[in-house]
């Protein structure tokens, strides 16, 4: 089931950034639960490379907010061990690219232990990292490596696109007794949006319909939600009404909201900043093709990063990642397909 954006009256509306929303979630949960501690590179006095932990060290001290050496594998492995011993660690990998350094501990250890211990050991662990390209961060700092976490049983994966979602999903992650891979987008940290002061949580496995529409369903992930919404505004001028859905979590995955939307629109476009091959977009296409093929009036279409390593040059980098223009033209083609 989908969950609509909160109804917030204009005067009660408070606007904060995506980075601030994450900090608030951590602050509230760390005050509530002394078992939570936070480790990562530069997350202490500096407040995080992206200000994603600003103020936490000052409030909670160096015992619970710890800067680490550049050793992602140990960060993750220590997180697993601490979780087994009764803590609820948050391990900030900062750049999602570097999760590859730690991946064996996340996939071979964190995701398996609850199952292979017959449910005796829980692994309450949040692995946090920021993916995506922003301002030519180059081939080692721009990737969107999340599809393989969705592939792994035993992991939950959150992929928030708005300040509201960051806060609600992070709070849920910090109350979940499973390993959660929490993926911010570094291009979104400065984006502002309404976040109520009152406490709320967003359950995992509930997509958000970010815009309702009639003619075509666009499922977009992370930063691409914003581009899809901009594209939808432009498409409206061409008489095309697009529904934009943000799954918000990849695992658990809310298929129902997408299937319901496709039943209405008959058309599906998936927009993902990650590569197409074996990606989340492939999984979503498979879900709809296997469960709702006869609802479709045209073939499923995917708009993904082009299959090349991220280039530095702004001209190339902007070309490789799906742009609003590309989304507009490709969605329009799908919407008009009468074959």
């Amino acid at each position: 089931m989908s969950q609509a954006e909160p109804e917030i009256s204009q005067d009660a509306q408070r606007v904060i950034t995506y980075a601030e929303a994450g900090v608030e979630a951590l602050q509230e949960e760390m005050r509530r639960d002394p078992s939570i501690f936070y480790i990562g590179q530069g997350i202490g006095p500096r407040g995080g490379n992206f200000q994603q932990s600003r103020g936490l060290w000052a409030e909670f001290g160096g015992d619970r907010v710890r800067d680490t050496p550049i050793a992602e594998r140990a960060q993750a492995g220590l997180g697993v061990g601490a979780a087994l011993a009764g803590s609820h660690p948050v391990v900030d990998i900062v750049f999602l690219d570097f999760v590859l350094e730690a991946i064996c501990e996340i996939i071979q250890q964190a995701s398996t232990i609850h199952y292979i211990s017959d449910g005796k050991f829980k692994v309450p662990l949040v692995i946090r990292a920021a993916g995506g390209g922003v301002r030519s961060t180059g081939p080692h700092h721009s990737h969107t490596f999340y599809s393989f976490f969705m592939h792994i049983p035993g992991l939950k994966v959150a992929l928030p696109s708005t300040p509201y979602d960051v806060k609600g999903l992070m709070k849920t992650a910090l109350r979940d007794q499973n390993p959660v891979v929490f993926i911010d987008h570094k291009g979104l940290y400065g984006v502002k949006g309404p976040v109520p002061k009152e406490e709320y949580l967003i359950p995992f496995g509930k997509a958000a319909i970010k815009r309702t529409g009639e003619h075509v369903t666009i499922v977009a992930l992370s930063q691409m939600v914003h581009r899809a919404l901009q594209a939808a505004t432009l498409l409206e001028k061409q008489g095309i009404s697009a529904e934009v859905i943000d799954p918000r979590t990849l695992a658990p995955f809310d298929s129902e909201t997408i299937l319901t939307s496709v039943a209405k629109t008959g058309r599906l476009v998936i927009v993902d900043e990650a590569y197409a091959a074996c990606g989340v977009s492939a999984e979503i296409a498979a879900i709809v093709a296997t469960q709702a093929l006869y609802d479709l009036d045209s073939p499923i279409h995917r708009i993904c990063a082009l299959p090349a390593p991220h280039a530095f040059s702004p001209s190339l980098d902007n070309y490789l990642i799906p742009s609003v223009d590309r989304i507009v033209s490709e969605v329009a083609r799908v919407a008009k397909d009468r074959s």
């Binding site: 140990a74 492995g77 220590l78 997180g79 061990g81 803590s87 232990i113 609850h114 050991f121």
Partner: protein, 322 residues
């Protein structure tokens, strides 16, 4: 070395014999074709798990390796539930889902044996970090072989523990071969204990086939960790009598003379002979332990062989915790 008490000698002897007999029984069942998977037995190395764990409290932590049956038993998992786990049976400590390389038991702080060589180092370090953040005086032990020390996780883990003064004891069971790779072909510096200097922590080489020496060194390291003074690296030199796993004879890469030499250093017999020579324990008292252990192991085998396999209707249980 301080003169041990009779009770201590008998307790360490019993610990080693229980592991030895457990492993001998596991080999027997494996050879009968009834046991699934591949087992890595600990025979020849029993003094290390026994001597170290004898210094731990029930609420201290242990993280182990693929050769982990001995660590599990020494930390307090029963022979019954360990053997049932080796059978993949529901009465195993991991309900049959983990098997020989994935024994788990929170009740005794056993954070798992492991199918991957170095992660136990990081898991124990993380448990020690948790204890420190929680302001508990629990300590954690990581057991690992010589094969782990040339892996990056060894460096990362020890560096973290040293920097943060974490209550952890790193126990390298240097049995001179990583699978079939002789240690001197895997590294230039074969003195594992000397590597502690790189982290400015204490490192000691220990005769891993002398349970009393292991016990004494472990006592110092555990006390140091509990006092909040940080980690210690113990390199326990030892040897596995058999191959890397059952089915590997272990003779294609190791000389018969070398194997025979190390068998002469049998930690069980050494303790026994010393205690007899010192007139500390009688032959009959040792024989009584042997008989008691035999009963425990036979009972464990019978229990494990009767325990059913998990029902397939439970195959997807426990993927997630509620």
């Amino acid at each position: 070395m301080v003169k041990p008490s009779k009770e201590l000698v008998l307790s360490l002897y019993r610990g080693m014999v229980e592991i030895r007999e457990f492993e001998m029984k596991a080999r027997e069942i494996f050879r009968s074709g009834k046991m699934p998977g591949f087992i890595h037995v600990y025979i020849g190395e029993e003094a290390i798990a026994t001597g170290i764990c004898a210094q731990l409290r029930k609420d201290d932590y242990v993280a182990s390796t693929h050769r982990g049956h001995g660590h599990a038993i020494a930390k307090g998992i029963s022979a019954r539930s360990s053997m049932a786990e080796l059978m993949g049976a529901i009465d195993g400590c991991s309900g049959g889902r983990g098997g020989t390389m994935h024994l788990y038991e929170p009740e005794v702080g056993f954070l798992g044996s492991n199918g991957v060589v170095p992660p136990g180092i990081l898991i124990a370090t993380g448990a020690a970090l948790s204890a420190k953040v929680r302001k508990s005086d629990q300590v954690a032990v990581a057991f690992f072989g010589d094969g782990a020390v040339n892996n990056g996780a060894f460096h990362e883990g020890l560096n973290f523990a040293a920097t943060w003064n974490l209550p952890v004891i790193y126990v390298c069971e240097n049995n001179l071969y990583a699978t079939e790779m002789p240690f001197e072909q895997a590294t230039k510096n074969t003195d594992v204990a000397s590597r502690a200097a790189a982290y400015k922590i204490p490192g000691y080489q220990v005769d891993g086939n002398n349970v009393l020496e292991v016990y004494e060194r472990a006592g110092e390291a555990v006390a140091r960790a509990r006092r909040g003074e940080g980690p210690t690296l113990l390199e326990c030199r030892t040897y596995r009598w058999f191959g890397h796993h059952e089915g590997d004879a272990g003779t294609s890469y190791r000389a018969k003379e070398e194997i025979a030499k190390w068998r002469e250093l049998d930690p069980v017999r050494r303790l026994r002979d010393k205690a007899l020579a010192d007139s500390l324990v009688t032959a009959e008292e040792f024989a009584q332990v042997d008989r008691d252990v035999e009963k425990v192991i036979n009972d464990a085998a019978e229990y494990a062989l009767k325990s059913p396999q998990p029902d397939v209707s439970t195959a997807l249980d426990h993927v997630f915790s509620n």
